[in-house]
Subunit: 310 residues, 2 copies
């Protein structure tokens, strides 16, 4: 089988942990142990989040020379290197040499006319005071929004349209290589009218990008691994209940939190509807059990009704 | 033909330029114009330096949280992402779609018993006062050395032994993909006794790593592009003269500056002696003319005597 797995940022770093190199390696080592059994048996393509890491690079850049902070496309490329390297090294350490891993920089096309560019929503990088925030907005044309007591830069989160390295990814997967790609949702790239590509300041949702990857690679299974054990209806409410198995049609009747579960559900539904494959959402430690329906939420075609946990 | 090109850090950033994103993109765009004609006609594998970029990341990390500075293997991976992305995007913009580019993270094995680890020589990152330097040496076990009026961290520069992603690189090149890899000399990696790989704090010389790449890929031509127009005997002396064409045996009678031309000459000689191919050293803008012997220094087998410029 061909399996695409999206590792959530929260699966790679607990929310209460400092973003040190040691913590990243420790968590990625745990993730690798969960993925290795799958990598031994199946075609495997791994994508990953990068929210905390891009935030760290933005903080470091601001702390050194605020006037020369790098744009988001380059920061994303840096995190694809950083995180991809650690995943590749830790996973390859658990696999036989005949199952090589490769980390591939990935540019993903977005539409410059995507309405997201007119209405940025994705907070990124450090917290600022109102004065600092206003100054940054003036000096750099950043969009700024209140985030609790502070202010943060917000950027567009346009939809992924095309994976430029798709042919190369496919070539490697067909030769038995485990490919790590599309990190952080891919490097957001626009095609200009003259045909040239240029990176843009945006963040593509990692789950939507991974869904595109899974669809275009005609994966059989698409897993999104995070720190929540399943998709819940009425999350955090007393009557909360977790979906066990549900069709795209049935789950689309429910409403989920924007920016967390909603894009995961959307990414899963797009994949299942367009390919007839199976999507799973749950915790990293349950990876194998999600695939067998013993944990997490499975979204599958042609389901009658909804099965709930427990 | 199969051609490996190593882009020197000084070919990608003039020594008097600030390391901004704009300057990097501008210079890489110029480099891409020089490489595109070769990419259209030949198999092409591109490696690159990363000295200024690793220095910048180290500075940014120190400015933000000095206690959580990332190790060099991870910083190297970040720069492979950053620089590889810009090369891939700028070069692909000049090529037809049937010549795709791919940027591959590259781990290169070094020997933990390499004598370089006992005698670090490669300066890296910010300049410190003597007090700061002594404190860093004490707190982190860094090796520190005087650099002019200041002090800098120095790290080991062990020899490259094995390119772990070689099979993947070869697979892509054989399918017509232009591969960008081994950036910054590759991520220095040690194989432990139990077989596991782990990144180490070191910097592999980019030219020696690129020579290994060129040899193992059985390249026909190996070019090292920098900001100096040729290899000189008696560089900076009144009697300085530039080699035009020379054999590995003949050039090995001369002495070159450690850390700049000496590793380039060594890298070229290793390649020519072991493969019978041709190595060239010169300026980026002369790329095509170095290949035809109209510029730069060519090191080739079976030469009688030395030809000098002009």
């Amino acid at each position: 089988m061909r399996i695409v797995i999206a590792l959530g940022g929260n699966a790679l770093l607990r929310r209460d942990e400092a973003l040190t190199a040691e913590n990243q390696r420790k968590n990625i080592s745990i993730a690798a142990k969960a993925l290795a059994p799958i990598a031994r048996q199946h075609d495997l393509i791994i994508s990953h989040g990068n929210g905390p890491q891009v935030g760290l690079l933005a903080l470091q850049g601001m702390a050194y020379k605020a006037s020369e902070v790098y744009p988001l496309d380059i920061l994303d490329a840096e995190t694809e290197g950083m995180i991809g390297y650690l995943i590749e090294q830790e996973l390859a350490n658990l696999l036989p040499v005949e199952r090589p891993c490769a980390t591939l920089l990935t540019q993903i096309e977005v539409d410059p006319k995507d309405p997201a560019f007119a209405q940025p929503t994705k907070p990124i990088g450090p917290f600022y005071s109102e004065t600092e925030a206003n100054q940054l907005a003036r000096e750099r044309g950043w969009s700024i929004a209140r985030d609790g007591e502070h202010f943060r830069r917000i950027v567009a989160s346009p939809r992924p349209k095309r994976i430029f390295e798709l042919g190369v990814i496919e070539l490697l997967v067909n030769q038995g290589v485990i490919v790590i790609c599309a990190g952080g949702g891919g490097i957001p790239t626009v095609q200009l009218e003259d045909g040239r590509l240029i990176g843009v300041e945006a963040v593509i949702d990692k789950d939507l990008a991974s869904s595109l990857l899974a669809r275009q690679l005609k994966a059989d299974i698409f897993l999104m691994l995070t720190d929540v054990d399943a998709i819940y209806d009425a999350w955090l409410e007393p009557e909360a209940r977790a979906f066990r198995r549900v069709s795209p049609q049935a789950i689309s009747e429910y409403v989920f939190a924007t920016g967390s579960m909603a894009p995961k559900v959307e990414a899963a539904c797009e994949f299942v509807e367009q390919t007839g494959g199976i999507a799973g959402i749950g915790q990293l430690k349950d990876t194998s059990r999600i695939m067998t329906g013993e944990a997490g939420t499975v979204i599958a075609p042609n389901m009658d009704g909804i099965r709930w946990w427990p």
